[in-house]
Symmetry: C2
Subunit: 203 residues, 2 copies
């Protein structure tokens, strides 16, 4: 059971590394802890990934590539702004409830190492605002929504959706909520947030 050529050792490592890196960050993570969680010898980490840095990058890229398509929903599909916001909000919040460490991990590590995002930008799937901008300006011209800079609207959408997860401990403390209450609050936000945004911009 042990010495079989385990095709999935590499994946077990990645899964363990994901767990440790996402909850403790690059600096807080320990190679030994990752090995323990994966149930293998520490040398294997280096055998498959060479170094802590490279293992980390593998985890980070995976995380980022999971988030990017979510954003593209808001940017590149063909429905109206109102539809987009509704869809994105419910989808994104559901998505994050399944991957609670993701946004904080990505944001934290990008702040630690801002040049990192340059590599991401080269990716074909990297979110691009052009279409969204055009659409916002059109709907403004048509009188469907009130004037607003597309960039600011985009930031607002991101903020309202992502922040409550990034700042979870802070929010729990201010609201005086236990985990269940917090979760309920996030559930409610699936409609709350889109209503809030649409109320603000709809004519």
């Amino acid at each position: 059971m042990k010495k079989t050529k385990d095709e999935n050792t590499e994946e077990q490592i990645l899964e363990a590394a994901k767990n440790i890196f996402q909850s403790k960050g690059m600096d807080g993570a320990r190679m030994q802890e990752i090995a323990d969680k994966a149930g293998i010898n520490k040398a294997m980490l280096h055998y498959y990934y060479r170094s802590k840095q490279l293992l980390f990058e593998a985890v980070f890229n995976n995380a980022f590539l999971l988030l990017a398509p979510q954003l593209n929903t808001v940017l590149n599909d063909d429905s109206s702004i109102e539809e987009k916001i509704k869809n994105f909000t419910t989808n994104y919040i559901s998505f994050i409830l399944k991957h609670p460490y993701l946004p904080n991990f990505v944001i934290q590590e990008l702040n630690r190492n801002p040049e990192f995002i340059l590599k991401m930008k080269e990716n074909k799937e990297f979110p691009n605002l052009e279409k969204f901008k055009k659409q916002v300006n059109e709907e403004i011209k048509k009188g469907i929504i009130k004037p607003i800079a597309a960039e600011q609207l985009f930031i607002n959408i991101m903020a309202l959706n992502i922040f409550p997860f990034v700042a979870k401990p802070l929010i729990k403390a201010f609201i005086n909520a236990d985990d269940e209450t917090y979760l309920q609050l996030m559930e409610n936000r699936k409609t709350e947030v889109s209503n809030f945004i649409i109320n603000s911009i709809k004519h």
Copy 2:
């Protein structure tokens, strides 16, 4: 010049520690680096603060105590909801532009160690939502603002104000902005954000 009883050595350490901790976090910070930045011997850090943990807590408490009063503006003064939102938004964004590392530092370290906030909660000045809730519900009853849960409104205000700073590298990348453009965007948000919120809730 060297062996004078420098009354401010302790503060030099705290200032250096603030810089290093806020940009690298607890795990990424090195005692030697803090000593170097303070221009003193590493042993002094321990002489004045005993351990890395205690030095970190001194920095963290200072940071938190700087942020709390900002929030109390929105919660405990006597102006209308609309006034409060306007004041808070301009004040808070100005404040953060002067202390750019603050929000991310606090959020990051609270996520790393959520029990930490329990100590904060004991503090008399810890933000309390009660008054704000009452006021929101009154203005709803009077028909000044549309129905909304006070907690959700509070989260929205926080999100719209804080998130753009926490996620700076992400936003710069999506918007394709250099530092100057980013700064301009944040300046604009001083009015943008309050308009956005008020548009959404005002009857």
